[in-house]
């Protein structure tokens, strides 16, 4: 029987990880992920989680320990934030290119400088091209459910890739919400044991992992990795459907549409900001504007087809980024959306918004003003954009 509890995001992540029965966990504490490490070590101490827990001396080693364990055939879990993720970049990239289905929660935190500890997905979004699957979630239920789903997605033989479940620091990590915790038996049935068939360090079946490799062979590796990312588009949807059947919760796979069917303008969000954005959509709907909201869940693989399908025939589109893409004068998600639309859509205004950096609140008013701008932009020429609108105290 599932049970209902009140959990913060880190507790939800710890529960999701424990229910997935990892063999080896390694993690190094960093704000705002720290309580997650404490919950996991407590679970191990209580015997609620039968895993080898490695209290490593750095994030670099956290990723290295889980990579080693996964190479030997273990199911593994780790978690980090911000500077910790930056430190683990070297083994992070390698976990994906070794095709190891490691699962890592990223408790999104802004990158320094200036010094900050608060939320924002700049950390993981900057690493979007390191070969991992990256799924961004909105609430604590999604955190718990998606960590379980992450193993099923990553371990699928069509995918075999590591998966990040990314959630905003503090807004989710330290916020308590009602969360339904599935029972262990149902999770066990949903998520069978991991048995690697593609790579394994085992004296019974000796193999050399990563000998020096020439460019033509390396290109073959990259091509297959790219195919695996594309396969994941399908697998993410399938796993979402399977999960919904068993547990009765639909998290909508690659993306989630809200009041999009008849919408003239669409605002696009990612992560915990989505709740406030929904309220703003409702506000404008009441005032008669046909506006919808599109929440991007899977940044990698990027659901290009699905996004362009949702956005086809709209009059204006807005993207709210809680991050920046230096050198583009916009956020990262904005660039992704624009690229996805290039071939399919006749040019329409696509407005870039940036706000909520360094943990700043993205209030309903900010989204209302974004939609106001979309309303004005309908039918205007694309060439006036992009000019990023900063959702800060001065403007927005």
């Amino acid at each position: 029987m599932s049970m209902v509890d009140v959990l913060n995001g880190n507790q939800a992540a710890a529960k999701g990880a424990a229910l997935s029965r990892p063999d080896v966990v390694a993690a190094y504490p960093i704000t705002p992920q720290t309580p997650l490490v404490e919950y996991l070590t407590q679970f191990v101490a209580n015997g609620e989680l039968e895993a080898f827990m490695s209290e490593v001396e750095s994030e670099h080693s956290a990723m290295s320990v889980v990579t080693g364990a996964s190479l030997a055939g273990s199911r593994t879990f780790t978690a980090t934030s911000s500077q910790g993720l930056a430190l683990m970049y070297e083994p992070y990239f390698r976990a994906s290119t070794l095709r190891l289905p490691v699962v890592m929660a990223i408790v999104n935190r802004e990158m320094i400088s200036p010094q900050t500890v608060w939320g924002g997905p700049q950390d993981s979004m900057t690493l979007r091209d390191a070969g991992w699957i990256q799924i961004y979630v909105e609430d604590n239920q999604e955190i718990l459910d998606m960590i379980i789903q992450a193993y099923k997605i990553g371990e699928d033989s069509r995918v075999l890739l590591p998966v990040n479940i990314c959630y905003d620091g503090f807004y989710l990590s330290h916020l308590t919400e009602r969360v339904e915790i599935p029972d262990q038996n149902s999770v066990d049935k949903f998520l069978p044991d991991y048995t690697p068939t593609h790579i394994k360090l085992d004296p019974k079946i000796p193999m050399a992992v990563d000998p020096l490799t020439t460019g033509d062979l390396l290109m073959e590796y990259r091509e297959k990795h790219m195919v695996a990312q594309q396969n994941a588009l399908k697998v993410i949807q399938e796993v979402n459907e399977d999960f919904n059947k068993v547990f009765g919760r639909n998290h909508h796979g690659l993306l989630e549409k809200y009041r999009c069917d008849d919408a003239d303008v669409i605002l696009i969000s990612l992560g915990s900001m989505t709740g406030a954005a929904r309220e703003a959509v409702d506000y404008h709907r009441e005032k008669g504007l046909a506006v919808g909201l599109l929440k991007i869940r899977s940044l990698r693989p990027f659901p290009q087809e699905e996004v362009s399908e949702v956005l086809a025939g709209r009059q204006a589109i807005g993207v709210v980024d809680r991050n920046v893409s230096f050198g583009w004068n916009t956020g990262i998600l904005y660039q992704e959306i624009r690229s996805a639309l290039y071939e399919k859509e006749k040019p329409v205004p696509i407005l870039p918004f940036i706000g909520g950096l360094g943990g700043e609140d993205l209030r309903i008013e900010a989204f209302i003003s974004c939609i106001d701008r979309l309303k004005e932009a309908r039918g205007t020429q694309q060439k006036n954009y992009p000019r990023t609108c900063w959702l800060n105290k001065k403007g927005g």
């Binding site: 490593v56 080693s61 996964s70 020096l212 020439t214």
Partner: protein, 299 residues
């Protein structure tokens, strides 16, 4: 049984035909150690000479008959910790072993090795110390001895230069982690090497650390046929004492009551050829100081 007979009956794990330099004593060391460790071993060879010569593999062929992989330069110990964690969970005894150069050990990889040692992860970590980054043409490392010419501590046209600092006393640093086993090894003393590897295999309650001084013939400028002679001289001059630390107890494995002058070792290495009498005396004083401390710890 004589050590040669013992080794002869052990299976060769390293493939023939790897492309190490002529006379390389690291290849000899690796072949010997892997014979002792046997097939029930997973070993890591981070970027360095032995990776470069094809021990992990090249062109779709592997250089080993046991599972082998390239860790990153700086995460050998922690990747092995993860592998060992898996086999502990599975309840299987497997030798989980690093064969890493000094760059991957005393410099970039030190943090994670220190972490694994402190946590008591049950791995065998072997450092082949050739006193620099040899695979890329001999750049200085924290393990390069004072006075050495390297490509990044060059000697001027007037004969001045070389590395300005003494090498890290790395076996002693590892001993200070209070791990169950630390030992130094020389390829000139194969019987001692075999015993120490065998002892490392019996350690089950923490990390076993083996430090081997392997003169690099091309980098140091040593005549290939004198490869083992130079190795032996490093011990006979007390430059590289053979000792072991078993659960905190220090033992000298070669007494060296009448040490040869350090100069006898130095003069066979081209990398020291620019040193003057004063600089040689400084190196000799350092050797004497380190020996004195070791003897005090052993008594």
């Amino acid at each position: 049984m004589k050590v040669a007979d013992y080794l002869n009956q052990c299976e060769e794990i390293i493939s023939p035909g790897i492309s190490a330099c002529v006379g390389c004593n690291v290849e000899l060391t690796l072949r010997t150690i892997m014979r002792v460790l046997g097939k029930n071993t997973i070993f890591a060879v981070p970027p360095g000479c032995m990776g470069g010569v094809g021990v992990v593999g090249w062109n779709k062929q592997s250089g080993a008959k046991a599972p082998v992989f390239f860790p990153l330069l700086d995460n050998t110990a922690s990747m092995l910790s993860g592998i060992k964690a898996h086999y502990l969970r599975e309840g299987r005894e497997v030798n989980v072993v690093a064969f890493a150069g000094d760059g991957a050990t005393v410099d970039a990889g030190f943090q994670c090795l220190s972490g694994a040692a402190e946590r008591g992860d049950n791995i065998i970590y072997i450092c082949y110390d050739n006193e620099g980054y040899m695979n890329t043409g001999y750049q200085r490392s924290g393990s390069t001895s004072k006075g050495s010419w390297t490509s990044t501590t060059p000697v001027s046209t007037t004969g001045k230069g070389g590395k300005k600092q003494h090498k890290k006393n790395f076996p002693m640093l590892m001993a200070m982690h209070d791990i169950p086993y630390v030992a130094t090894i020389s390829p000139a003393y194969i019987d001692d090497m075999v015993k120490k590897v065998q002892h490392a295999m019996t350690v089950k309650d923490g990390l076993a650390y083996l430090h081997i001084l392997n003169p690099c013939l091309t980098g140091w400028g040593v005549d290939p046929k004198r490869s083992i002679e130079v190795s032996r001289l490093s011990v006979q001059t007390r430059y590289f004492p053979l000792f072991e630390v078993i659960n905190g107890e220090y033992r000298l494995n070669r007494e060296i009551k009448k040490p040869k002058p350090l100069e006898e070792f130095l003069k066979l290495n081209k990398k020291f050829s620019h040193l003057n009498e004063e600089e040689i005396a400084d190196l000799q004083a350092n050797v004497d100081r380190n020996w004195g401390r070791l003897v005090a710890l052993c008594s």
